[in-house]
């Protein structure tokens, strides 16, 4: 190729081409696309809850308690005459907030720690690995319950507790990735070229582990969503009367024979919300990691 020809090729960088390839691979997976659509739907529902919900989620109406679904109340009313549909819509806020922010918190803490262990090795690696082992010895929910008990019951604290409880698992993933990537030829080449640690980590290691991290994030989010519901169900998360799917389920326990639908709807919301993120995560894993392709 002559110089003129090189300059004449359309300005499509290899990175953009790869991105388009990944997008096309993703779009070929109907379940993953469905997961993305539903997940985005839940996020929008949480953000625009006041617009979507027909009623104030905490407005009680003692003339209309435990009503069956009707056009007036799409999913009926609860034991205090509150509109169940509006409470589900507002409940998405707690779930999405806990799911997304606890995952971001976990990544922000776990990635630097994992990088330090996997990239620098030395004395810090065994120390971090051992501490990770210790934390992994505590079952996720027991750890989250314990942390929530220490921090006190509230949505913010439940989010922090779930985020911290997810850290050890993510540290292990980040460490493993860093460990593998530092042996790659392009990292060795960068070292030979005299690149510093900051450049190697920032330009080579971190960008190459984003795929794995995105996949991990999409499986951590549903775990945290279910975790938030579980904590709120146990009284360690969102406090009534703030609407949360876990709180709604806990309240519904007293009406299992009179109004089982009160237990049905919030559970379906938790289920579809976490299923959508799980489908998305599975799809992304197939797309970003060709090794696991069927």
């Amino acid at each position: 190729m002559t110089v003129a020809e090189v300059e004449a090729t359309p300005p499509v960088s290899p990175r953009a081409r790869r991105r388009r390839l990944l997008l096309r691979r993703f779009l070929r997976r109907p379940m993953a696309v469905a997961g993305l659509v539903v997940a985005v739907g839940f996020v929008l529902m949480a953000v625009f809850a006041p617009v979507v919900a027909p009623y104030d989620p905490n407005a009680t109406d003692f003339d209309a308690i435990l009503e069956k679904p009707s056009w007036e109340h799409l999913l009926g009313t609860d034991e205090l005459g509150r509109d169940v549909f509006s409470r589900i819509v507002f409940g998405a806020r707690a779930s999405i907030q806990a799911g997304v922010f606890s995952t971001l918190l976990a990544i922000a803490i776990a990635v630097p720690i994992g990088l330090a262990a996997g990239y620098y090795r030395g004395w810090i690696d065994p120390v971090i690995s051992r501490v990770t082992d210790v934390l992994l010895a505590f079952p996720f929910l027991i750890l989250a319950v314990g942390l929530a008990a220490i921090l006190g019951p509230s949505l913010l604290n439940a989010t922090i507790a779930l985020g911290l409880a997810a850290v050890p698992g993510l540290v292990r993933v980040a460490r493993g990735e860093a460990l593998a990537l530092r042996e790659e030829d392009y990292v060795r080449a960068a070292v030979a070229n005299g690149a510093g640690d900051a450049r190697i980590l920032g330009r080579h290691i971190v960008p190459n582990m984003t795929g794995t991290l995105i996949v991990q994030a999409t499986v951590t989010i549903p775990a945290a969503i279910i975790g938030e519901a579980a904590l709120s169900f146990l009284g360690l998360g969102v406090q009534p009367p703030t609407p949360s799917w876990g709180v709604m389920l806990a309240d519904a326990q007293s009406y299992l024979s009179d109004a089982p639908r009160l237990a049905l709807y919030p559970g379906l919301a938790i289920f579809f919300c976490s299923l959508s993120f799980n489908l998305l995560g599975d799809g992304l894993r197939d797309v970003l990691d060709p090794k696991t392709q069927r």
Partner: protein
């Protein structure tokens, strides 16, 4: 093998030691003054001082830890806020949760392993998609909600099974199983989803391995190739996953026992948190962590016996 055992045992002991320190400090980070709870909420400074002295709360934290750890080693976890010995309470609750865990594990394996094998053998076909999708549904199902739904259908509407409670196996085996069935299904289905996915992926690995090709080339029937050669090696990998799932089972027991009103280990954890019972919480969390470490140590040993390569290279890739 001796060196490997020693190394693994050493690592397990270190983890248990650090876990005990963490539990001890973590419980001390809980809000609220333990002396206040132990002294029947009396605010009389003299009573509080006496309580602090009695329980050693006036001593430096490392001394408190050493005493607690030394007693714990001898099986004494102190007394809870009702003056009942913590170790005895825990020991009395463990069989209940153990039974639940074993039943769930059985249900999980009976569903998960065959489903995983079928999905792998019929990879890319309808049955593969079906079982993979069902597994994903199982993973997204919040177990406490699933439990409530089972109660509504089988206890409230059909009246086939009790909605909750517990009857010891020694008293009435049939009633015991009736009470345990729904909770075990709740925990078992979640587990079966995890096992199915693991089984499918390790079967896929095995089926493309050289020894399977050799077995096929020898002219063995497909049944034998899948059933003996591939399955046996995949089961080894799944053993480790079952060990790791113990944590999930304990987490699940916390919620499931709360819903079904079973006075087991999980319920005890929730009660300890809600009652701010320091000694009890400390004991419960410590026992959970030690149990997890010990089971995984046993799994590591079993795994290395089944797969000698591990002894040399450490963990499998």
């Amino acid at each position: 093998m001796g060196g490997f055992l020693l190394r693994k045992a050493g690592a397990a002991l270190i983890v248990i030691f650090l876990a005990s320190v963490l539990v001890f400090l973590g419980v001390r980070a809980l809000p609220g003054d333990p002396a206040l709870a132990l002294g029947a909420e009396s605010r009389d400074p003299e009573v509080l001082a006496a309580v602090r002295e009695k329980y050693g709360l006036d001593q430096p934290v490392p001394v408190q830890y050493a005493k607690w750890a030394w007693n714990a080693l001898q099986g004494d976890l102190g007394v809870d806020s009702r003056q009942l010995p913590v170790s005895e309470t825990i020991v009395s609750r463990i069989p209940v949760t153990l039974e639940l865990a074993v039943l769930s594990l059985l249900i999980g394996m009976v569903i998960g392993i065959p489903a995983g094998v079928i999905a792998a053998v019929r990879r890319g076909k309808a049955s593969d998609y079906a079982s993979t999708s069902v597994a994903l549904v199982g993973l997204s199902l919040p177990n406490f909600w699933f439990g409530l739904m089972l109660i509504i259908v089988f206890a409230v509407n059909l009246n086939w099974l009790p909605a909750g409670g517990y009857v010891p196996f020694s008293e009435d085996p049939v009633e015991n199983l009736k009470h345990m069935l729904l909770p075990a299904i709740v925990l078992g289905t979640g587990l079966s989803a995890v096992l199915m996915r693991q089984m499918r992926s390790s079967m896929l690995d095995s089926l493309s391995a050289d020894y399977v090709r050799t077995a096929r080339a020898k002219g063995l029937s497909e049944r034998r190739v899948v059933g003996v050669h591939a399955l046996r090696n995949s089961l080894i990998t799944v053993t480790t996953v079952i060990g790791l799932q113990l944590g999930a089972l304990i987490s699940g027991a916390v919620i499931t026992e709360t819903i079904f009103g079973i006075a087991g280990f999980g319920r005890l954890t929730v009660d300890a948190v809600n009652q701010r019972d320091y000694a009890l919480l400390q004991g419960v969390v410590l026992v959970a962590a030690v149990g997890y470490v010990v089971v995984n140590f046993a799994v590591d040993i079993a795994y290395s016996l089944l797969n000698p390569r591990i002894r040399v290279s450490g963990r499998p890739a």
